[in-house]
Amino acid sequence: MSAAIQLAHGGGGALMRELIDAEIRARFADDALAPLPDAAILPSPGSRLAFTTDAFVVSPFEFPGGDIGRLAVCGTANDLSVAGAIPRYLSVALILEEGLSFAALRRVLDSIQATAAEIGMRVVTGDTKVVPRGQADGLYITTTGIGELIDGLRLGPEHVRTGDRVIVSGNLGDHGMAVMCARESLPVHPAPKSDVAPVHPLVEAVASFGDAVRFMRDPTRGGLASVAHEIVEGRPLAIELDESALPVAPTTQSVAEILGMELMHVACEGRVVAVVDNTVADEVIATWRNMPQGRGARVIGDVVDGKSGRVVLRTRIGGQRFVDRPSGELLPRIC
């Protein structure tokens, strides 16, 4: 077995077979769905399905708190979860850069395997390609997922109404700041840790509230700000967030101060933003706080009548301002 990925590992020949047999099938093939065909025939669940796909490129692909493998599984599983579905099946497509070490590849695959097992998702199909050195940053992963919709949940921004409360399940911005610190080699100790984790337990725990849960989203790229805009965009509603209620981890806050980052714009990978009926807000918070994934849950704002589509921050010192949509690439600032 060679020590590094070569172009030929993506060529369809013996080396590719070796790669797939030794590294992929060894982990994911099982009785029911072996031998990992290109398209999986799924057992009919007899209910409505949710289907999603996502591509993952992150530099560096290993960072404090996680790696691209865990990220790729959680990202897709969480998209299904916040759509109100139980994540079931996963496809994994790998794009490997020539020269990637097998040791690194194994760590990522192990991480995919462990995370899928944690969620109870099964990897049922996939693909592997190798590109010449310099054409990818180590490896890229695309995952596609299928989930089974939970009865009784009807989620979507169209269900949100005035008087609803906005809730977040935990600290903001940990993933984005962890990756940025790792990428920019910022000399901080301990480095902020990514929050990358499955959120399905949080969703399933509040399913019994039914229609009182209006909307859920995982605030990934673009952060809380982008989710808040998604909720009110094009509707005769506004969202008011309380700066003093926004939960943040001290280390993450510290780095954000230094780099001039707005944590509302920074990605989480293991949180849920939910909009719920005012009458159940306290119960949802209590439910989540009893779970390891939701210990930091808080009400952070309100849905109000008003200038449509606006997101307003009530600042800690008693001012107020609009919250912008994030504008693309986040960069450390000195200004």
Binding site: L186, D324, L331, C335
Partner: protein, 367 residues
């Protein structure tokens, strides 16, 4: 962290707000709106982030000043850096610079076309990058106000003394006092007072504003935390009520009258005042710092034989008039058409908190 959070207390903010309202109500009987310029882009950012404008009475106007040294960096500087990158040099820069437009491109666009652009938090990273790739020229974009210049100069000092042969510096440092003087000299600019920058003042000292106070303009040095800013505004209003103008240092926990002597000495060893071109304001005499000729070995312009280009600011850009408060952003012919936050022309659009960027965003947000 008491020295941050203590200066963000809501109740003290409410108290300061009430005092500002009281002072402003006593002023308004005598005159029209008070126009205070917050000189520094970091003040502008902090004011926006804390929603401070919404806390001020309607007859107190905060005017954003020349902004940040990044926003006022002239297009020709970016063109020169791009040319160095095209000749194979790796560019090392603060993140703020990568979206600043040159005549026809930005470093972000050049990076997508294959240029090497390292974004750094500390200028010291330039040395590490240069040592990692010893066969390649590295150019650090040495921009900044007086706050940043000493840190960059310390790295110049290391590069010069330890001999990092493949690292040079493209300088475009800017100085705050000459820009303030230029604004005061402009008969079209009507300003009542300066809210003076926090960390520029830590280096140059509060005494640097004495000439402006002597010309009748109250100058208050304030920190960047919300209470500092409200406190600074309140101090300015008090001076105006008393009919006085003097330099008042409300950031005495950091700023001394004479500033940081050690930093000043280091800068004086390596840098000398030069005329500098400000995007939006034009050339202001002795308003920048360049490397002294004896350090030409680390001067990127000398090493590449590439003196900084003139560059072509869009001739229709009226940022200068916006900065000076002569026109509203929407009165500029480029506003919202040629010039947008994605494709900015002048500093007021380059900076996310510049007057034009803010007006563009809120106009769109309301739609």
């Amino acid at each position: 962290m008491i020295y941050l959070n203590g200066f963000r207390d809501p109740l003290a903010a409410a108290a300061l707000r009430a005092r500002i309202a009281d002072s402003a109500s006593r002023l308004s009987a005598e005159r029209g709106p008070v126009r205070l310029m917050e000189v520094c882009g970091s003040h502008t950012m902090a004011i926006a982030r804390s929603g401070i404008k919404a806390m001020l009475p309607s007859n107190v106007e905060l005017i954003s000043g020349p902004g940040c040294p990044v926003c006022v960096t002239a297009p020709g500087y970016v063109d020169t850096a791009v040319e160095m990158a095209r000749r194979g040099a790796a560019i090392v820069t603060f993140g703020d610079m990568v979206r600043v437009p040159g005549t026809s491109t930005t470093l972000a666009k050049e990076r997508a076309r294959g240029a090497t652009v390292h974004v750094c938090y500390s200028p010291a990273e330039a040395i590490a990058h240069a040592q990692n790739e010893p066969d390649r020229e590295h150019v650090f974009l040495a921009i900044g106000f007086e706050t940043t210049a000493p840190a960059v100069t310390a790295v110049m000092h290391q590069a010069a003394t330890h001999g990092i042969p493949n690292l040079s510096f493209l300088t475009a440092f800017k100085l705050v006092p000459p820009a303030l003087q230029a604004l005061m000299n402009d008969p079209d600019v009507a300003l009542d007072a300066f809210l003076c920058p926090a960390h520029v003042s830590a280096i140059i000292g509060a005494d640097a504003y004495r000439p402006f106070a002597a010309q009748g303009t109250p100058c208050v040095v304030a920190g960047f935390e919300p209470l500092d800013i409200l406190d600074g505004v309140e101090a300015i209003l008090r001076q105006m009520l008393d009919g006085r103008s003097f330099v008042e240092n409300r950031y005495s926990r950091v700023v001394k009258d004479g500033g940081n002597a050690r930093a000043q000495e280091l800068m004086a060893r390596y840098l000398r005042p030069i005329d500098a071109s400000w995007r939006g304001l034009g050339t202001i005499p002795e308003s920048g710092l360049g490397l002294r000729p004896e350090f030409s070995t680390i001067d990127a312009e000398v090493r590449f034989g590439l003196p900084q280009r003139e560059g072509k600011p869009n001739p229709k850009c009226l940022c200068g008039d916006v900065l000076k408060g002569k026109i509203r952003p929407a009165q500029c012919p480029l506003f919202g058409t040629v010039c947008t936050p994605i494709q900015p022309m002048g500093p007021c659009m380059v900076s996310s908190e510049g007057s034009c960027a803010a007006e563009y965003r809120y106009a769109k947000g309301a739609a």
